[in-house]
């Protein structure tokens, strides 16, 4: 029983950052903005969260700092793609490259430092609970509120939304900032709650996996929970199998999350009907108001 609980906790810990980052990106994509910079925002959140906790000694400040760092990177993305109308794919890559470099530079002084881990009850901390609350809130917001309807309208047809008097760019800025704050928080979870330390490149592709999860969930918040936990479970089970003495090279077992991502993408994407029904129609397109 003890052992099963330990495994369950590691699965939750592996799934939570994916869940938080993916739900944020989902909102951003619902408004029609494809932000490929999740990995970059996440790693900035990780370094900011660790740094702030280390300097102030308060993990609450750390959590706030990680969200701020993610949102800051997202605003940079927003300025380029929404105001200057730069290509979203290229700008997302730029955010990721910049985030990885900047976090390595900022984090140089934090390597090997220790902080107090986020308090938890039998392994369950506040962020894990918050991740579920977040999914509920996002789901309610998108499908039960006026603003949520506006966000979806902007994502599905920005020209009609504009002619109805909605501020397309304003709403998109808000959604992108929210996505960034979530990605930052997911990074902060890694460096404050999961493994309380800073390691360069510690997100190790989780931001990209979160992006794939949004597709896998076909842009529906509740399915993101399913996807994130499926993912966390499979990647942890790969390691459990290893401890049972199966003779497989550890490197190949470490491939599991990436392979699962590819398989999941293939399974969902091959069904074009499902994909077309939920994909925001204006995803990735720049919007210029024609007055």
């Amino acid at each position: 029983m003890e052992q099963l609980w330990a495994i369950a906790i590691t699965i939750i810990a592996a799934s939570t950052p994916l869940l938080i980052a993916a739900i944020g990106e989902l909102v951003s994509e619902r408004s029609g903005v494809l932000n490929l910079g999740v990995e970059g925002m996440m790693i900035m959140g990780a370094v900011a969260g660790f740094g702030a906790t280390y300097l102030t000694g308060s993990s609450a400040v750390g959590i706030f700092a990680s969200m701020l760092a993610g949102a800051g990177m997202a605003m940079l993305f927003g300025f380029l793609t929404l105001t200057l109308l730069a290509n979203q794919v290229a700008t997302g890559l730029a955010i990721t490259l910049l985030g990885i470099g900047l976090s390595a530079l900022i984090g140089e002084n934090f390597v090997g430092k220790q902080i107090e881990r986020l308090p938890n009850f039998h392994g369950i901390d506040i962020l894990i609970i918050f991740s579920f609350v977040l999914v509920g809130l996002v789901s309610w917001f998108l499908f039960r509120t006026r603003y949520g309807l506006m966000v979806r309208a902007v994502g599905d047809s920005h020209t009609s939304a504009h002619s109805m008097g909605f501020s397309v760019v304003g709403l998109r800025y808000a959604c992108v900032a929210f996505g960034g704050a979530c990605a930052g928080l997911a990074g902060g979870y890694l460096s404050i709650a999961d493994t309380p330390q800073w390691v360069e490149n510690m997100t190790a592709g989780r931001g990209w996996i979160a992006l794939a999860l949004v597709v896998f969930a076909t842009w529906l918040p509740k399915r993101v929970v399913l996807g994130a936990y499926l993912f966390g479970t499979i990647s942890i089970l790969a390691f459990v199998v290893q401890t049972m003495g199966l003779n497989v090279p550890p490197q190949l077992l470490s491939c599991t999350p990436y392979l699962v991502t590819i398989v999941a993408l293939v399974l969902i994407s091959r069904n074009k009907r499902v994909l077309r029904a939920n994909t925001p129609a204006c995803l990735g397109q720049a919007f210029v108001a024609d007055r």
Binding site: L36, V89, L98, G101, L102, A204, L259, L265, S269, L275
Partner: protein
């Protein structure tokens, strides 16, 4: 909002040339600010970072060596991005290319005649192509997003490489170091000082792709599919063939970059292997070169300089060499931001 964009009637060709220069200038200003914030005199910092490496013969050679894989990959990616095919896994394709190249010296160490050199280079190209065709196939057959799949393949390539070089391909007489046997004789590329034959490949490839892009039907086909997919389809161009072509081309060139790196520089495979990271920098090379394969020659050299500058900053200014990554990221940012000037006029409006 005070800033408003007005679409130009046609793209400004002056701005197309000037905008990368503005981006570089802005990056230098940013650099000066970073140096100042670290207590280094900005002029001195910029001089040490961007000028001093060029004054030294040895460093100039180093720059060309570092630019070689960047140009090879950047030129291929430029064409792929033009066709709206987003291969961002060049890093993995380079690594698998290097791995395939290494199979010959590891398993046929006695193969020592002039034919082994082209055979190894070809192996590298094949490795890169095979690795790149996986996301291409998944895209064409299952409609899976190629950005995500090609990126996932980077992580997988790194782990497979690590496993093989630590395990089956390790040098049995290597005192347990995670590396293969040394490549010797014909298994290495001829070199002049530090510069190896790969530099020539890079030059020829970039010029050749430039010619193909602007003077051959294939180039026209890819540009059309990229900028106006519907028009391309009416013209009878196949988008699926273009995906395969672009992935094979950019993957093959990444494989060639890997092959020439291990045959010309390290003369062995070792893990961890640092060159694959250039696969991501090559994305910046492609954009800074305005997605023109010939432009990749200049942008490749500039990005190579940022690596050298980072090392110089570490030794003489005591600033961590991570600063190179920051400059590279910021440069891409400014390049993308300045691209706006090519298609739009920026107007400032006073608030009403």
């Amino acid at each position: 909002m005070p800033l408003r964009l007005e679409k130009r009637a046609e793209r400004s060709s002056t701005m197309a040339l000037v905008s990368p220069l503005i981006a570089i200038a802005l990056t230098l200003i940013f650099g000066a600010a970073v140096f100042a914030s670290r207590g280094v005199d900005p002029w001195h910092g910029l001089y040490v970072y961007f000028v001093e490496p060029l004054t030294d013969e040895w460093a100039r050679e180093k720059m060309i060596v570092k630019a070689t894989p960047l140009i090879l990959m950047g030129a291929g990616l430029a064409l792929a991005y033009r066709a709206n095919v987003w291969n961002i896994g060049a890093a993995g394709q380079l690594q698998i290319g290097a791995l395939f190249t290494g199979l010959i010296p590891v398993y046929f160490s006695n193969w020592q005649d002039p034919s082994v050199m082209p055979a190894m280079l070809l192996m590298g190209v094949i490795g890169g192509i095979l690795w790149a065709l996986i996301p291409a196939y998944l895209k064409v057959r299952f409609n899976a997003n190629e950005i995500l799949t090609s990126l996932m393949m980077v992580y997988i390539a790194d782990l497979v490489f690590d496993w093989l070089v630590r395990g089956p391909m390790r040098d049995p007489q290597g005192h347990n170091f995670p590396k293969t046997v040394n490549f010797v004789g014909w298994q290495t590329l001829p070199h002049w000082g530090d510069i190896h034959l790969g530099a020539l490949f890079a030059l020829v490839v970039a010029l050749g792709l430039g010619f193909m892009t602007y003077r051959m039907l294939k180039g026209f086909e890819l540009l059309t599919l990229g900028s106006a997919p519907r028009a391309g389809r009416f013209a009878g161009f196949s988008a699926q063939r273009a995906i395969y072509f672009c992935f094979a081309l950019s993957g093959g060139l990444a494989g060639l970059a890997g092959a020439s790196d291990v045959m010309g520089v390290s003369h062995q495979l070792q893990t961890p292997y640092s060159t694959p990271a250039y696969g991501f920098v090559a994305i910046i090379v492609a954009f800074l070169g305005r997605l023109n394969p010939i432009g990749a020659i200049f942008s490749g050299l500039l990005l190579a300089l940022t690596f050298l500058g980072g090392e110089a900053a570490q030794t003489s200014l005591h600033i961590p060499d991570k600063i190179a990554k920051v400059f590279q990221g910021v440069l891409l940012f400014f390049v993308l931001a300045c691209d706006t000037l090519v298609y739009y006029r920026v107007k400032w409006e006073s608030r009403k």
